[in-house]
Each structure stands twice: as C-alpha cells, then as structure tokens.
Symmetry: C2
Subunit: 319 residues, 2 copies
C-alpha cells in the first residue's frame, strides 16, 4: 500500500491511499496518518481521484520523534575527513544516531536558510514505525516498520563543527527535512528485503545527475539495527521516524567514490563531493546550495516507475 | 489559567481546566492540548468536577519537539567536573541545548531502567510554546510562551560519557521525562517575571528534603534566550516544549552549594550532590536511584498552595 497526506485539512494533512502507479488516490476512514498509526488501522473509503504530488505535504507532517542514524559509515568517514576530524573505529560497530526535528516539510517546499550557513542536502531512506517496546532486538525490530519513504535531511555544514564541539548534538545545524510525497508499506515495496532497501537512490542537482548510490550497498547498520539502537532505553511511540543517514557507496577499490559524470555512483550530498575534490586537488570546488538551485531525489522500480514520487526542492536563501 | 490532561480518552489525554487551588476541574471544547494550541483557543465547557492529579498524564503527553537547555550553567560546570570534563568558557554566553524525547510520562509514572545505567532525576522548569517563527529575538520570544510546568528529566549518568563522546548528543542517556500534572498560563503564575520563574523548586528524595534551589536565581539564560536559540534555524511548531535544564544555585560564596540538611539549597539532581561529596571527601557517597526510591518535585505559592501539583515518582528498575 502506498499512502500520502494532502497538504490541507489541518496541520497533520489529510491521509490518502495512492495507487501503485501514483495515478489515483482514495480517501481513508482515518483523517491523519498519526490517527491510523495510533489505531493500528487504515481503511480506504472512496476511489478514483487523480493523484498529483504537488498537493502533498510530508506523509507524516508532524511526528513525535525523528531519530536519524548514520548507517552508511562511508559517509561519516568522508564528512569527518572533510572537516579534519578523525573517525573512531567503533563507529563501524556502534551506530551514530541523533534526535532531529520531527516536523517535516513537503516534497516541493523550498529550502531556506542563509548562504553562509553552508546549506547542503542529504538523500536518505527513512522508515515510520508502529509502537515499539523498549529493548526490542534488531531481529524483532523489522516487524515494527509500517512505512518506508525518502528524506532530504538538510544540513548546515558551516554550523556543524562549532555545534558538535559543544557535545549536545545537532540543533541549529539540522533544520527542517523534507519527505517524499508517498510512503510505502513493506509488502508493496520493490527492493525491500525486510531490513534495508535495495536500489538506486537518484539525486539530481540542477537537472544533472549528482548521485546514483545504491541504498542496499554499504549500509553497515540496517533498519533493524537502527530501531533496536533507538529503543535501548525508551519505547518508541507509533509514528516514530528512523532515518538511515546519507546513502553513500564506496568505490569497488575502497576509494571514496567517483562523480556520476566519471562513471561512478556519485554522492547523496554536496559535502562528499567536496571531500573528494579536496583529496584530488587540495581544495573543494563545488559550492554548497545557492538560491535558485534545484534538488531532485527519487527512486524507480524495475519498470522505471517512480516508487515514492520525487522530492523536488528549490533553494531560496535569505539575502 | 491552569490546565491538565486526564490520562484517558486517547494517547494525547483529555484536556481539562483546573481551578487555581487544584480542587476542581472543567472540561474543554478542545479534546487535547495540542488541538487547543493548533487552534489557538481553549474554551472550558462544564464546571465542578473534583480534581485529582492521580488521574493525570503529562499536560502534553506527546509533543512534536522537546528542546532542553542547560540554563543553570552552575549545574553544567558541576556535572562536567564530576566526570572529569572541562567546561569551555563560552558555555556562559552560548546556551547548551539538546533535542530530547518529546513523549512525556505522567507525574505519577514509575521511573524505570537498569541500576548499572546510573539513573538520576533532574528537576527543571519547562515552557510550552505556541507556533514561533524562525529567527525570533529573545525579547519577542517570551510572548510565545503559552504554559509553564515542571519536568523531571531522567538522566542515565553512566551512559552519558560514552554517548556524548560520539558527538551526536543524547539518545540512550536521556529516556522519558515526567511532567507536573498541571501547566499554568503566564498570567496566572506567581513568581513568573515574563522570562523566568522565581521561587523554590522543592525536591524530596525518600521523604527528605534534597533540593530547595530557587529557579529564579543563577539562570544564566532565561526562556526568551532559550526559545530564540531554539528558533535560530527552524520555526517551532505549536506545542514545542523548552526545558530550563537542571535548576542549580551557587552558594553565596561562589561554592558549589551545600546540602539542605546543612542549611544550603541542596541539589536538583543526585549528580551534583555526588560532585560535592567528591570535593569534600574524595569520592561520591550518595548512590544513584535504586528500586523503591521515591522522588517528589513541586513548587508552592506564598500561601503554601501547590502551583503545578507534584511530580511523585517511584523507582522500579529492571533486575
């Protein structure tokens, strides 16, 4: 089943069920996704309206919790090297995770901020859980995944070093993230193996291919691991969003990855590209996002059909 | 106005308006506090039911965001010294703030966890905001405070050093916090000066006075400062909870504070008492919370009337 939330009918949107090909939608008995998750039900009522992602907010516009992992440790390694910080070896066995802002922008909302903050995108996979008990095992945890979606986790690169040095995690440097218009149940999701999503996560920047990483490759911690980590000392309320962190592939030779234009899988954020530029030429060349830039993030099934619809955001920074 | 949420009628409770003396309550047009905040209204409907905090959950059982500051920098200094970490001087001018779990326990819920985690309480003041625009100034911010309440921010001391060393803030080491049964609007709150709350925050441990710190003293960053800090790069949704961090007073001589039994203002968490014991005798003596311990947190007006009702929690740790 594919669901979305129309961007009207209240701050939490209006829950709809979308056809597999994203052409039509049906309304539901429950008004919001949170209500359906709380009641553990989702009953479509009517049939046959044409679907257009432009009228969608995030599937779960206001969640009670967003815990974002860094499951693709290659990304962590690259970004830390980019800011001159060493990565501890235990990051390969102990997941990094922070608590983020759990109010989500719609797939077409503008990216704001200030140029001097170093605004960057991060293309991720995220899951929405049901109510999870404290101490769940990684094996059990996968059974609590209700929906999978895509996420653009905006990062303010120039604010991160100072904020993280205070030791309390991200607040300023992780503003509002955007979600794909559609979230999909595990049973209807091509490439879903029960704990991770396989397939190419497409990222275009200004109409050019920027990232073509495979979300099923180099994911050191799968969603079972991430949910179990999140629930070690707390129960997770229904509607908790767990993010994968920036999807990132190593090169087959173990190198940091090549741009798409050079036949590589590219990058799911600008920071990685800048890191590789620094390695190759001593300094980064690609700027962070500027007003007018356009970011597009999506996945396709084997027939080229969009699975989640696209996150398509334009950058409009404060002067 | 004083409000509370009865612990029935759904996961978000049933909103009521409580009389000033906490003796009776009235029901409201809006079923939940979140609905009232979203609609910017609160209209009591019926009169005359006897009020008993034992039937209350947290006033806002599930919030979309909880940002907890460390406004009493004396506490930060003491706790860091207790774990052998130096405090940077900028912590006196740049607020520490982390994003915490925004699902809240009721005032009478048990404190769980494992003894080896080093379970501690932290008595705090917290505010619930309306919708706040990004970039609000500290002066403007106070106008967005809708309710004030008390909070017991449970901290797992033995998990903190390892977790914070990863740089992504608290996840495991800050499990579910509990709220006072009642939240009070600024206009009806004795001791509220518009940006901070003056008066003694009482903490009893097992029936003995443990903390009598004044919440209006040594608060380096007031709630205007904390909200402005929180909203630097994000808008805050209606129902955002902003915490003060552990209330903590210095001694008049600048020392770390004396126990209540020795005529001092005591401590709002066990970690501070352990730190002072370490200074005095070379090692901490007071253990962290054990099964059967009882924590009581409350404030009184000039007539000895409880303002928010009491947080009264019993500790039941896993074996």
């Amino acid at each position: 089943m594919k669901i979305a939330s129309l961007d009207h009918g209240g701050l939490d949107g209006r829950l709809i069920v979308v056809s597999d090909n994203l052409q039509t939608y049906r309304c539901c008995t429950d008004e919001t996704l949170q209500a359906a998750l709380d009641l553990e039900r989702l009953v479509p009522e009517f049939e046959g309206f044409p679907f257009d992602a432009v009228y969608c907010g995030a599937p779960l516009p206001r969640a009670f919790q967003f815990l974002d992992g860094s499951a693709y440790v290659n990304h962590v390694d690259l970004v830390r090297r980019a800011r001159g910080a060493e990565m501890p070896a235990r990051f390969w066995s102990d997941p990094l995770m922070y608590q983020g802002l759990s109010v989500f922008a719609g797939p077409g909302d503008d990216i704001g901020g200030r140029a001097e903050w170093g605004v960057d995108f991060e293309a991720e996979v995220a899951v929405v859980t049901g109510a999870v008990h404290q101490g769940v095992s990684a094996d059990e945890a996968a059974g609590f995944i209700e929906y999978i979606m895509l996420l653009n986790d905006i990062s303010l690169r120039n604010l991160i070093p100072d904020e993280l040095s205070k030791g309390f995690g991200f607040v300023h440097s992780k503003p509002i993230s955007a979600c794909s218009p559609v979230a999909v149940t595990p049973d209807d999701l091509p490439g879903w193996d029960g704990r991770k999503l396989h397939g190419v996560l497409n990222v275009d920047l200004n109409g050019e291919p920027f990232g073509r990483a495979d979300a099923g490759v180099d994911m050191t911690f799968d969603f079972g691991d991430l949910i179990a980590h999140a629930a070690k000392t707390r129960a997770l309320p229904a509607g908790t969003v767990i993010g994968s962190g920036t999807v990132s592939n190593r090169d087959p030779d173990g190198g940091p990855g090549q741009p798409v234009a050079q036949g590589g899988r590219g990058y799911s954020c600008i920071a990685e590209q800048r890191m590789v530029e620094t390695i190759l030429s001593g300094a980064p060349e690609t700027p962070f996002l500027q007003t007018g830039d356009h970011v597009r993030i999506w996945m396709e099934d084997a027939d080229g059909q969009s699975i989640f619809g696209a996150i398509e955001q334009t950058v409009r920074l404060d002067p």
